[in-house]
Amino acid sequence: MENFEFLRNVTIGQYFQGDSIIHRLDPRAKITILLILVVVNSFILSFTGNVLLLSLCIALVLMSGISFTFMLSGIKPALPLIVIFALMQLFFYGDAYPPYGMESVTYWRWGMMSITNGSIQLVIVTLMRFLEIFFLVSLLTSTTTTTNIAYAIESMLEPFQRLRVPAQEISLIGTIALRFVPIFAEQMEIIMKAQASRGADFGEGGVFQFVKRTRQMVTLIVPLFVDAFRRAEDLILAMDARCYTGGRGRTKIVRFRMRRIDYLFIALTAVFGILIMVFRNNFPV
């Protein structure tokens, strides 16, 4: 049966009001923590390291008070893609990656395809790494308003302004992009309903029938693009009408100040990250 409730699946970019400790952290602290953990994430290839990092991510999600199952449901639309990538890694990467911390064992081989304990490890570790990034990014956007994220990015880029980095513009682009994700999800829901009302069948075709599903999408993509351009034009007019002339000399009504708890969180994350990075080659598996 068709389900048109798109917002149910868009968990990235959606802000949820709350008063948890994660909500109250300074947005700059949150972004710093995210960056540290993303760097850690890209370095660890072992089971142990990923279990540790994933546990930390889950702990952070639990601390934020946002429904864990709801956040997880955001992966659903990407699931077919994840499965395909996982299968490709499983069958074709057998020889490319020797397993970490184990003797290489080949379980099955047929022509170019093979399954080794290296490829199995790769699949599991990739999934865990994907989940970690997914949790971290969802967590940032669901506990921080887009304006605050933009403010944080801008303020963190400020030192680079001497090198002619357009900090304000970059943060503005980021904000607009994030802000429009739920708007387009909503618009897509409306258009999908309108097309279904005149005979389009979005429910048909299994999850893996890409061609059929892609063809159905044409009736959505064209109206969505038209809408996006229209909205962009409206936005330009609205900004112009409010005398937007770029970021130079702009002041803010809310000024953030880093508190002790913010530094504490960053410090703890940094210690965690450094420990994992230092010992990343010493884990048993």
Partner: protein, 290 residues
């Protein structure tokens, strides 16, 4: 006033919650009961967020009721998972607010033909359907069928979009705020055209609007929805005879009706509640000439 025919849509104590089980959960419907009879024009009014759109999306299966309540459309229980929803959508056409946003084909004719094509109709029949639908909304078939969709004016695009729904030849046509955002003349023309569909082609109309003048000029009966519940219903005249009650639900009455109420309070006895300027004119002439 139409003589009551068969019930085409029956709604009983309908409940609906959006995004249930998520942090964004919203209870939209908390007990809506209404009927739509074959061949009539039903108006649904209520303030923004009252649940009007949610109700009508149940009528063609865009939202399926999984909670309390029943929706029966043309004899089919909409909660039945085995129901052929697409067949229902051919019988019940739904036009949204700003329907011109749903256009996607390069040529006008192709866009209108999308529905009939999906129904699997042969090209000849499709062509006839498109011709009929375009005639119904007032677009010349020969002149417009090969025009580029996105080169049309806003009003023309809206006509094309409505024709796209009409090409399914639905028995029931739902207009969900479909007249907002076009100029008064365009509105009047559109209202006249859908009313013609009802009178000449027997299409049952469900008209959702927050413009009281429009509803008054077109509807036989009215349902007032507030906070997800049916709070008032009756013939258009009965409903608009109660301006105080309507005001309680954030709604008004047509301007001429307000004037008539005021006149009655000032001692000028007006025999009925006028709904349109023409009716008021008639009544006032009668009083003046007696």
């Amino acid at each position: 006033m139409s003589t009551r025919g068969r019930v085409v849509i029956q709604v009983n104590d309908l409940h609906h919650t959006y995004l249930s089980g998520t942090p964004l959960e919203v209870k939209a419907l908390k007990g809506v009961t209404m009927e739509v009879y074959e061949g009539e024009v039903v108006g649904i009014i209520g303030r923004t967020g009252a649940g009007k759109s949610t109700i009508v999306q149940h009528f063609n299966g865009l939202i399926r009721n999984r909670e309390r309540g029943r929706v029966i459309v043309d004899g089919h229980d909409m909660a039945d998972p085995a129901l052929d929803v697409r067949a229902i959508r051919q019988k019940v056409g739904l036009v949204f607010q700003h329907p011109e946003q749903q256009l996607f084909e390069r040529l006008v004719g192709d866009d209108i033909a999308f529905g009939p094509k999906k129904m699997g109709l042969p090209p000849e029949v499709r062509r006839e359907r498109v011709r009929w639908a375009m005639e119904m909304v007032g677009l010349d078939f020969e002149k417009f069928k090969d025009r580029f969709t996105f080169s049309l004016s806003g009003g023309e695009m809206r006509k094309v979009a409505i024709a796209g729904v009409l090409a399914l030849q639905p028995k029931v046509l739902i207009l969900d705020e479909s007249t907002t955002g076009i100029d008064p003349r365009g509105r009047k023309e559109l209202l006249g055209r859908v009313l013609n569909l009802n009178r000449e082609h027997g299409v049952t109309l469900v008209f959702v609007s927050s413009n009281m003048e429009e509803v008054a000029s077109i509807a036989d009966r009215i349902y007032v929805i507030d906070d997800g519940r049916t709070v008032m219903h009756g013939s258009t005249r009965e409903v608009f005879a109660q301006p105080e009650a309507l005001r309680r639900y954030g709604l008004g009455v047509p301007h001429v009706t307000t004037v008539a109420h005021q006149l009655s309070q000032d001692g000028v006895a007006i025999p009925r509640v006028p709904l349109t300027v023409a009716e008021a004119e008639e009544d006032i002439w009668k009083i003046l000439s007696s």
